[in-house]
Every structure is written in structure tokens, then in C-alpha cells.
């Protein structure tokens, strides 16, 4: 024993012993505790991949329903909900595909289900069908009026605002409030029932806005600019939002 060790204060020797014991114990135990396969493929346990693969399937996918419910799958395929999976509404059904009698699907018949996708939210893309559930035909279940597998508005909406609520609301308070939608967009009636088949047209060039805004004797009370010098390299809506032109 080197002779400085006995010279250390008693308590330090005891602590040092404890530390040495703990460190040695850690070094012995560590290799045993590191999960097998750690570090083989990266900073993780390689077996974790197999564990993930081994999880039970919960969802079967739309294709697997066709075998027994082809009426429903074809109905769904022809309607607005064609991109939806059956199981987004009926819950995970891998078990049902194996044993149809044993595992029963869910039926979301309540009024609070459909709004998860359809409640009005400015985050949703324009044109996405949205309602404000508090004012949309309260007290009746949605499926009373809309067949969930082929939902259609039970009547053709008259106003553009039924589907483009956000645009309509901002235009209504803008300096363009008095310019009608169809002045700028020519819309086929079919757009109101199948908006993707019948697309609405949009203005394509600067002259369009020039009708009212360009320096000429057009008699419009709109503020005037000179088309040839006012930012000629861009179309107007790169800078002015047409539904709220005063926005900077």
C-alpha cells in the first residue's frame, strides 16, 4: 500500500472505497444490461425493428373490404368520400376481416363525428366542404340527410359562400364588396354540384383588372393606375389579394 493512503482522513478512505465499489459494479453490470443487438445498426437496439414488425395489424385497408361488401365499396368509390378509408369511420377492422361475426365495426352516428373533418376551420383548403355545426340543421343526425357513403348536399347550394365561406366573408368587407364573384370568375352551374369536374375560371392577365383600374375614361370610381408603368412585370394578384385588395 502506498504510504499516502493511510494518511487520508478516515471518511475520505471510506467514500473512496464506496466509489471504487460502485464504479466496478457498474463496469461489471453494464455489459449485461445493454440490450442485445445495441449498436449493430446505429445508436439503437436492432431488435427494435423486428419488434415493430411483429405488432399486430389493426387496420385491414379498403381493398380487403371489397371481397364481402362490394356494394359499399363501389358506392363509396363513386361519391365525394371516395378518398376516405372505410376504417376512418368504422374503426380498425383487421379482426373483422378474419372473423366477421366476432369483431363488430363501430358506427359513428353522432353529430359530433363528421365535424371532425367538416367543422369550419380556416386551416382547411378553400373549397373543402365545411359547415358550422351549431347552425347547420341542428338537432338532427348528419346521416339523416347525408348518406355517409355517398354524401351530397341534399340540394344544390345557391351561393358561392356555401363552399367558399372564407373568401366570401373577406370579400364582403373589402373594397371589392360590390364586385360580384362571377364578374371575375365565370362559373358553370355544374361547378356547384361537381366542383372538380366543372372548374371555375380565373382572370388570367393584367388587362382584366385594367377594365376598371387602368388609366382611361372608363367612368369607374375605382382608383386608377397606369398599366404600362405600374409594376409591369407581374400579374396584379402577385401583390394584391383580389378578394381583399386593400391588404398590404
Amino acid at each position: 500500500m502506498p504510504n499516502w493512503i493511510p494518511n487520508l482522513p478516515e471518511q475520505v478512505r471510506r467514500l473512496a472505497l464506496l466509489v471504487v465499489v460502485v464504479v466496478i459494479a457498474f463496469l461489471i453490470v453494464r455489459p449485461m444490461l445493454i440490450p442485445a443487438g445495441f449498436g449493430e445498426q446505429g445508436h439503437f437496439r436492432s431488435g427494435a425493428l423486428n419488434d415493430a414488425v411483429a405488432h399486430d395489424y389493426k387496420y385491414a385497408g379498403k381493398a380487403s373490404c371489397e371481397e364481402c361488401h362490394d356494394d359499399m365499396t363501389s358506392m363509396l368509390a363513386s361519391g365525394y368520400h371516395n378518398n376516405l378509408s372505410c376504417e376512418v369511420c368504422h374503426g380498425p377492422l383487421a379482426g373483422h376481416v378474419e372473423e366477421p361475426e366476432e369483431v363488430q365495426p363501430e358506427f359513428p352516428r353522432g353529430r359530433n363525428f363528421c365535424p371532425v373533418c367538416h367543422e369550419y376551420l380556416s386551416a382547411r383548403p378553400t373549397g373543402f366542404p365545411q359547415i358550422v355545426s351549431q347552425s347547420h340543421n341542428q338537432l338532427k343526425a348528419c346521416i339523416n340527410c347525408h348518406e355517409p357513403h355517398d354524401p351530397v348536399p341534399s340540394e344544390v347550394p345557391e351561393k358561392c359562400s356555401a363552399c367558399h365561406g372564407k373568401i366570401a366573408r373577406s370579400k364582403a368587407v373589402s373594397h371589392h364588396a360590390n364586385v360580384e364573384c362571377d364578374f371575375c370568375h365565370s362559373v358553370n352551374e355544374g361547378h356547384k354540384t361537381s366542383p372538380r369536374e366543372f372548374r371555375a375560371a380565373k382572370p388570367i392577365d393584367r388587362n382584366f383588372c385594367g377594365q376598371c383600374h387602368a388609366d382611361s375614361e372608363n367612368g369607374s370610381d375605382a382608383p386608377q393606375i397606369d398599366l404600362s408603368s405600374h409594376e409591369p412585370r407581374y400579374v396584379c394578384w402577385q401583390c394584391h389579394y383580389p378578394h381583399l385588395p386593400e391588404a398590404k
Binding site: 471518511q11 475520505v12 471510506r14 472505497l17 374503426g91 363501430e106 359513428p108 371532425v116 367543422e119 380556416s122
Partner: protein, 405 residues
């Protein structure tokens, strides 16, 4: 699935503006806000204790051991909210076995272990060693063995050896101060270094966290001192209490100035996020930030203590005012943590909308668990004070005869 719908439906209605689809659900909730609150108390209580040892603030001597034990009790509970928040708490020890040095969060294990083992336990051990030896000598049976093991069978309580203990405590405290800074600065760092989140990303974050930690630690020790001393049938030391309140006051001023600095800096810098942050503060965080954190948790206690300092307030009223202020400070600091953690997730990264947080009562992330976690440290403190009485071996009932050295 029904549960999911029940959960999402009301949330949808309180979303305002534009948010991305994955932002409706907050991933860090009550439990995660609890964690910086608890570590803050640890760091604060420790720094208070170090005032006594390193800076020789004699007036605070009565609270030294109490602060150390408080720090330990809270440190034991501090990682629990994180563990409960993890999907697999039973695997958490693996971060020690296979350290990932690239992950600040993974390194927390080491910061924690260092603080617990190298600082708190060691300092307490040296500080209590003499008492433990004396108790071990004067008791019998299981208790004797318990204290023998705790003191690592050490026997030497000569003056020289006890003097060494004192020196060791001092050195550990000196190492401990940067460690305490590290422990809580680290928590601020975790938030401050998240570049993508303008509410968090700020170099001031670790420092603001640290000072609010000290504030909360001092206030907690003040509260505990005022509650425990009468229970132990002792007299409150008014000089000590006044000193505690003064320190609380000064540190709060620093903390408040830092927060104001951070605020001015943000407003002046006026990055593209400023509008949404402003509207968040005016709506969703108005109650918890403006009312609770700033007015109730900061301005009111500051004004109260300032009042006590200016006017000659009789001792009994002073006690009451200190007590009330310390409670307000606790509530205020908790909501500071809440506003950082939850606030950082309430606004959309598109800067165009706000989502909302729905607290649950039951469940791992619920209110019930959080309340339990908040009560636990006090329970642990109670046990610790039984084992390691702050009054030293004299107050241990069993230690009848203290052999004179």
C-alpha cells in the same frame, strides 16, 4: 374511437385562425411544465444553502440544513414527471448505459446524476457525518445498523476530522454552485435552443430560468421554514426571516429585469412571429401570464416586500406578509413554467393561428398525477427530516447522552 372524437371535437372549436393539422394536439402538457418547476426549486434551494457556506451569510444558518434537505427531496421527485411522460419509463436507465452525446435531452441523465451524487448527497453526507456517528453510537438494534451503514461505518469524530468535514462541505458547495447553475440552466437551454420555436428560442432563456429558479427556491425554503419551525416547537428567527425575504426581493428584481429585458428585446426585434405571440399573450395566455405570472406572482410580492422594507411593520404582520408573498411567488413561478412549456405549443408554426390545451384529470398526463407529484417532495422531506434531523443529533429523541468530545 369514440374517445378520440370526444377529445377532438371540442378542441376543434377553440382553434382560431390557421393551424397545421398536427398542431391541434399538444404533446408537452402539465407533466412537462412540472419538471422545470421542480428542478428550479432544487437549484434555488441549493443556491440558498450555498449562501451560508460559501458567502458566509450567518443570518441564514438556521435554514442551511433545511435548504439542503429540501433540495434533495425535490431532486428525487424532479425526474418523475419526465419518466411518467415517457412511453417506456422502465427503459429509462438505458440512457446511462449507452450515452448519446449528441442529444441534450439524453445528457440530462448525467447532469442529474452528477448533481445528485457528487453534490447533494456528498455534501449532506459530510455535513451530517458527525451526527450520524453519534446517533449510531447512542442507539441500538436496527437503528444502530441503519446509521452505521449511512455513515459508512465511519467512527472518527475528533476535532480534526470534523474540521475536515467542514472544509469538504465548503469545497463541494463551491463545485455545487456551477452545478446548480448547470442543472437549471440546462433546462432553460433545452427550450432556448429550439430554433424553430420563437417563443422558446432565446439565449436569455437559461439565465431567466436560473433566476426564476433561485426565486422559487428561496420562497419555498421560506415557506417551509415558517411552517416547520412552529411544528418543531421552535421560535422563528426573525433576523433569518428578514434576510430570506431580502434575498428573495433582490433576486426577484434581477429576475424581473431579465424578463423585462427579454420582453423588450422581442418587441424591438419584432420578428415575423411577433404578431401571433402578441395575440397569444392577449388571449390564450392572458390569465396565466399577465394576471398570474406578472401581476400576482411578481409585482404584488415585490410591492409587498418593498412595503415591509420601507415602513416599520410589526413582526407578526411581517410574518404574514412574507408568507403570503412566498405563496404568490410559488404560484407565479409555476405559471412561468406553464407559460413557457404550454405557450410554446399554443401558436401555429405558420404564425397564423392558435390552438388550445385541454387538461385531463385522470390518466398519466392528468391533473391528479401532477398533484400527487407536487405533494410527494413534502412527504419525502418529512421522512428525510426524521432520518437527518436539521437540529443535529441532539434533537433525535433516542440520542439521550451525547458523549462530550
Amino acid at each position: 374511437m369514440d374517445e378520440l372524437i370526444q377529445h377532438l371535437y371540442p378542441l376543434l372549436k377553440s382553434v382560431t385562425g390557421y393551424i397545421y393539422p398536427n398542431e391541434i394536439e399538444l404533446h408537452w402538457g402539465l407533466l412537462v411544465s412540472l419538471y422545470p418547476y421542480l428542478t428550479g426549486l432544487v437549484a434555488g434551494a441549493f443556491i440558498l444553502a450555498s449562501l451560508v457556506k460559501v458567502f458566509n451569510v450567518k443570518e441564514l444558518q438556521p435554514t442551511y440544513r433545511l435548504s439542503m434537505l429540501t433540495a434533495l427531496a425535490f431532486l428525487i421527485v424532479a425526474p418523475l414527471p419526465l419518466l411518467l411522460h415517457l412511453g417506456h419509463p422502465e427503459k429509462s436507465y438505458e440512457i446511462f448505459l449507452t450515452p448519446n452525446t449528441n442529444s441534450a435531452m439524453a445528457m440530462f441523465g448525467f447532469v442529474y446524476a452528477w448533481y445528485l451524487m457528487a453534490v447533494l448527497l456528498l455534501e449532506l453526507w459530510f455535513d451530517y457525518r458527525k451526527d450520524m456517528v453519534i446517533i449510531a453510537k447512542s442507539s441500538r438494534g436496527l437503528k444502530k445498523w441503519f446509521y452505521k451503514i449511512l455513515s459508512l461505518f465511519s467512527k472518527d469524530i475528533s476535532d480534526k476530522s470534523v474540521a475536515f468535514d467542514h472544509k469538504a462541505v465548503r469545497i463541494i458547495t463551491i463545485i455545487g454552485i456551477p452545478s446548480a447553475f448547470l442543472l437549471h440552466g440546462y433546462v432553460g437551454f433545452i427550450f432556448g435552443s429550439i430554433k424553430a420555436n420563437p417563443w422558446w428560442s432565446s439565449v436569455l432563456m437559461p439565465i431567466v430560468f436560473l433566476f426564476s429558479a433561485i426565486v422559487s427556491g428561496i420562497a419555498m425554503v421560506l415557506l417551509l421554514y415558517m411552517v416547520i419551525t412552529p411544528i418543531r416547537k421552535q421560535q422563528l428567527d426573525m433576523i433569518c426571516l428578514d434576510k430570506l425575504a431580502s434575498y428573495l426581493f433582490y433576486i426577484m428584481i434581477v429576475d424581473f429585469s431579465l424578463e423585462v429585458l427579454d420582453f423588450i428585446h422581442r418587441v424591438y426585434e419584432s420578428e415575423e412571429s411577433i404578431k401571433i405571440l402578441a395575440s397569444m399573450v392577449q388571449t390564450k395566455l392572458f390569465g396565466s401570464l399577465v394576471i398570474i405570472q406578472v401581476i400576482m406572482g411578481m409585482i404584488l410580492p415585490l410591492a409587498t416586500i418593498a412595503g415591509v422594507k420601507i415602513f416599520k411593520v410589526p413582526a407578526d404582520l411581517r410574518k404574514l406578509l412574507y408568507f403570503m408573498s412566498a405563496i404568490l411567488v410559488q404560484i407565479g413561478i409555476f405559471s412561468t413554467r406553464w407559460n413557457v412549456v404550454v405557450g410554446g405549443q399554443l401558436f401555429s408554426k405558420s404564425f397564423m393561428g392558435l390552438t388550445t390545451y385541454k387538461m385531463t384529470f385522470f390518466g398519466l398526463e392528468g391533473l391528479l398525477i401532477s398533484i400527487t407529484l407536487l405533494i410527494m417532495p413534502f412527504f419525502i422531506l418529512w421522512i428525510l427530516m426524521k432520518i437527518l434531523p436539521p437540529g443535529g443529533s441532539e434533537t433525535q429523541e433516542a440520542a439521550i447522552q451525547v458523549p462530550s468530545p
